[in-house]
Point group: C2
Chain length 339, copies 2
């Protein structure tokens, strides 16, 4: 076994050419075929591994991107949303041998921002943006670090993001409830102040506006099963005949409350959710909901950032991923839609 060469200089003396030439062989510069072959032969033998830190210092690029997932720590490790996102991102990055640095929500936003901006370890950042006004997001956008947001459509002309159209999707759900004859439609909101929560509420209102329905029944939730349970309580007291929950988890909570009241789904109360998580189809009755492909949101965010880094035009890129209304028995009972 040949001793492993650690630096370009060692390789240079080993091959008898200059360090610059070895570098060219590795990075694909103009080299004579003969010397190229000679150097490559040595390269095979000595298991040379370029020092990426040195390379970064010289080239200004690291081949590593950062991922910021700032959310209540508990949700981060409970809600499949985050792991699906991570799955999509890491998978895409692996294709291009791009490394990933992770910032979770253990630090304050201020500290996280500081760390990211001083760490010149990353070429760009993917940042989940769940709340409306986020100093971390603002800080990233006003820095010169290429950034892609997930879940937040910014009106800033400089921002790149990947998102789903929560508002339109919610509008579709509520329009569906109207179409099946419901008029007293309640909404358990997602967490107020979050982008998705507010947008879904907007969609609810817009659908009713368009349908000419005036009465609104709104209870604030926070995406948890419990808040769905409690929100349903409030809405039932108002005499609703349908509940659009801002998440499937809250819909599950509503199911429980509705059942406790001795009411039937959908005969007495139609129920719809949002997310199409795994258990949505297993509920009794199966839940009408909105499918959003979280994993592909992760993929797209990574792809978007890579493109941003690749071409040097800093023009922002915006991606709105499609959603799909999944109609199940919680709104249409046993009725055959196409019958």
């Amino acid at each position: 076994m040949a001793r492993r060469a650690r630096t370009l200089d060692e390789l240079a003396t080993l091959t008898g050419v200059s360090r610059a030439t070895v570098s060219r062989v590795i990075n694909g510069g103009p080299v004579a075929p003969a010397t190229k072959a000679k150097v490559q032969e040595v390269l095979q033998r000595v298991e040379y591994r370029p020092n990426l830190v040195a390379r970064s210092l010289a080239s200004g690029r690291t081949g590593v991107v950062g991922l910021v997932m700032h959310s209540p720590a508990l949700a981060l490790f409970t809600d499949p949303y985050w792991s699906l996102l991570l799955a999509g991102i890491t998978e895409t990055l692996a294709d291009t041998a791009t490394g990933l640095m992770l910032w979770l929500s253990h630090l304050s936003k201020r500290d996280t921002l500081d760390q990211i901006l001083s760490t010149h370890f990353v070429d760009g950042i993917i940042c989940t943006a769940t709340i409306l006004d986020d100093p971390l997001v603002d800080g990233l956008l006003s820095s010169d670090l290429p950034t892609v947001l997930i879940g937040h459509r910014r009106h800033d002309s400089t921002a790149s993001y990947v998102d789903v159209d929560n508002e339109s999707a919610s509008e579709d759900v509520v329009a569906h409830l109207v179409q099946i004859g419901r008029r007293r439609i309640g909404h358990v909101t997602g967490s107020r102040g979050t982008v998705s929560g507010e947008d879904r509420l907007l969609g609810y209102n817009r659908a009713l506006d368009r349908a000419g329905v005036e009465q609104r029944f709104v209870a604030d939730g926070d995406y948890t099963i419990e808040s769905g349970y409690e929100g349903a309580e409030q809405l039932l007291a108002m005499g609703v005949d349908a509940i659009f929950a801002g998440s499937d988890a809250m819909a599950a909570g509503a199911y429980q409350k509705i059942r406790e009241h001795g009411l039937r789904i959908p005969d007495d109360i139609a129920v719809a959710g949002f997310d199409d998580v795994e258990f949505a189809a297993d509920l009794d009755p199966p839940l009408t909901t909105v499918r959003q492909n979280v994993r592909s949101q992760g993929e797209m965010s990574a792809r978007t950032l890579l493109r941003l880094l690749d071409k040097k035009d800093g023009s922002p890129r915006r991606v709105i991923l499609p959603t799909e209304l999944i109609i199940r028995q919680s709104t249409v009972g046993g009725v055959h839609l196409d019958g």
Copy 2:
């Protein structure tokens, strides 16, 4: 607002001292109180952020550690084991402002190893080691990169690891089954070839050895609910009066099969699991199992690596975390233990 200074040199000219002195102020070298104050005053104003890449190249350390989680991608984002581990690790690292680079299982082990070893971006590695013979683990251990293994007790004198004593814990479970009068005790193993699977099987055998019980009933599983269901089928055919499943998920599968056979738990068949996942206490009847604190395994692995990096003595550190036998109704029925 003052323009932000980007380098030590800029700070030097800004303050009128040399770059070295500025560096000393930042890193705590010997500096005269007067100049120190002067420099710090400027430091406040200009939002200087040290370039960690350059610092790394000069100092040889990066302040970043790597985490390798190589497992079937599906399990990675389904099984709470991984997210709990990640939670413990990231939380601990955040305390010391240590960064985290993540390698998931999207690349082959060979490629992953190559990436890690050439990336001089990390000072050390935390690596989950689930299977017995893992080229990735071997590669890391034979490199000069400080490495902490999770879930794998290596006999190599150089290896550091954090693990639970699967063998003893399993022995305790089976001893408990013996103690409540069972003699035909079956075991649905975890995935063969994995450290935990093999160790838990060893514990099963050791307990029966000690109890003088000769008959063994073993069905191979793979930690999934389905394999527990099928393993129970085999064991029931052998006429067991107790089933020790290598995981709670498999125990849940066994419950289902036992119920299909019209048998009662624990009256006809006592059942025990391993992990004490969330749903274990909610099963009917609640499941006797082994609690292992996965989150603290994550914490300890991070702490161990940090210590390894801190003190320069390369002496390996081994941590075996305690487990706890949680006795519930799936083995003892309604009997009061202390009654």
